[in-house]
Amino acid sequence: MRATRAAVGALGVLAGAYGAWLLLSRQDLAQLTNAALWLASGVVLHDFVLAPVVLVVVAVVARVAPRHVQAPAVVALVVLGAVTLLAIPVLGRFGARPDNPTLLDRSYGTGWLVLAGITLAAVVAGALVVRSRHRPAVPPTERSPRGPRPGGG
């Protein structure tokens, strides 16, 4: 077991070193500096901007939203938040070019509204189903084996 892990780890180090050599040997210093800036920015933006923002948003939801709305709200936040983040390049149409009408040729704002509407509707429907199931029983316990269900999709 230990030997296998060491061998696998060594393989990983080897692959990583090959990547580092590829990175350093194919471009000039200005390009490498720019790549390093992008590599570092991703970590910094995630760890010190996005993650704290999520902490604050979840804290706000926990404090402001009524108890039975919290789970659906978090589900909607995770789904919509993640998908919106990865749609930033198309939502902003940053790569659009006047000479190419086949590129970025959808109305992404409308698409986002539709997606948000469907997500919210699905989450609300899921929450209503969960509520109606739980109503006749004793109040839902925190550690019920299946836990509150997220609903939606």
């Binding site: 990175l23 995770v78 789904v79 990865l86 390049p89």
Partner: protein, 386 residues
């Protein structure tokens, strides 16, 4: 309200931030990164000039599938990575251990995690931007994305080797198992662990459905964030327009001549002469490195017939030269097995109509199982290599 400024991992008390959750999301994240790595290496190799092992010409839709998988797995990985990082976020604030030896070991491990996180975020972000043709950087996308791909997969393999006992215990036990949790991570979350996992799978699924229509025709109407709707002349979108390639004049000039050369033999043809040669029709996809693809019915001259005009032997690489005067794909190398394939055409028509100028009028290369950037448009010259 007060902003949380966490000085230590002990302040993160949610029982959702557990190895049981991280390992389950990590498993799928690893699968996505593995798929993206393998298909990325395939794509890189397919674009190499020199191919010691010839890249196969069959199946004709092979590159369409591998590059589609590449972009889809990368897209699916975005929600997975976000939630995975959320579950392990407290570790960022873990106090360093006492003792030089343990400190060094932990330093190494955290260093490798730092490399992994930086590489993973970089790959997903740069890939997403590239697929939307947004390049707000000065490094070479192809070189850098390829190199960091190796770094990411290497760091991932190291991470798996380091964490293997934790992963095995976590995946072998129930998701609500707490044996590997931090001691104070006991506060019930808004969701259950299963609820968080299901939400993550849904987010990943929605991400794929919302974008994959650029390469999966069935999803065209569903993919609200598809970079391309699939519309374009002849039902095929355009990557580089004639205007961007600065060929709007030369492509329609009456002086246009097509030349095929081998050694000191050269044959020059007008477009009418090309159109008068025996024509063949082939159904072949255009599959772009940016991840979009579309199938088309192309008509034109079988490329091998043109090479026969100058008695070029079989198996020779062919330099394909475009009318465009600059750009990395002005000249491309068509490997011998592609040049000899009966399906490889110098296409003059698409879907029964004259090729649109943005699709490469007067003629373009179309070969099976080949990255779109190498399907050279506005072809003016074929040079059979010695």
């Amino acid at each position: 309200m007060k902003l949380p400024t966490p000085p230590s991992d002990e302040q993160f008390t949610s029982r959702l931030r557990s190895a049981a959750v991280a390992a389950r999301i990590g498993l799928w994240l690893g699968i996505c990164f593995g798929l993206a790595f393998v298909t990325g290496v395939i794509s890189h190799y397919a674009q190499n000039h020199s191919q010691p092992i010839p890249f196969p010409t069959s199946p004709s839709w092979g590159y369409r599938v591998t590059q589609g998988v590449h972009v889809v797995s990368g897209t699916a990985a975005v929600p997975l990575l976000l939630v995975k990082l959320w579950t392990v976020y407290p570790r960022l604030f873990a106090r360093p251990p006492r003792g030089l030896r343990r400190l060094a070991v932990e330093g190494l491990e955290r260093g490798s995690i730092g490399v992994l996180v930086a590489a993973a975020i970089f790959q997903l972000a740069s890939g997403l931007l590239n697929s939307a043709q947004w390049y707000p950087w000065s490094f070479s996308f192809r070189s850098t994305h390829y190199a960091i791909g190796w770094v990411a997969i290497g760091a991932l393999v190291v991470h798996i080797a380091v964490k293997l006992p934790v992963i095995r215990r976590a995946l072998g036990a129930d998701v609500d198992d707490t044996s590997q949790d931090r001691p104070n991570a006991t506060r019930p979350g808004v969701l259950s662990r299963r609820g968080l996992l299901r939400t993550t799978w849904v987010a990943s699924g929605v991400a794929v459905l919302a974008t994959a229509g650029s390469t999966v025709p069935l999803l065209r109407n569903v993919s609200v964030f598809g970079v391309r709707s699939g519309d374009g002349p002849g039902g095929i979108p355009i990557n580089k327009s004639a205007r961007a390639a600065a060929v709007t004049a030369s492509a329609v000039s009456p002086d246009y001549r097509f030349t095929v050369a081998y050694g000191d033999r050269e044959v020059t043809l007008t477009r009418d002469e090309l159109a008068a040669m025996p024509q063949a029709t082939r159904s072949l996809p255009i599959a772009c490195v940016e991840g979009w693809s579309a199938g088309g019915s192309w008509s034109g001259v079988v490329l091998r017939d043109l090479l026969d005009l100058v008695d070029a032997p079989r198996g020779r690489d062919v330099l394909v030269v475009s009318l465009q005067e600059s750009g990395p794909y002005r000249e491309t190398v068509l490997q011998g097995n592609f040049a000899d394939d009966d399906r490889t055409l110098l296409a003059l028509r698409l879907e029964g109509e004259e090729l649109a100028i943005d699709h490469g009028y007067p003629c373009r290369l179309i070969a099976p199982n080949r990255p779109g950037v190498l399907q050279t448009k506005w072809v003016k010259r074929l040079e059979v290599q010695a």
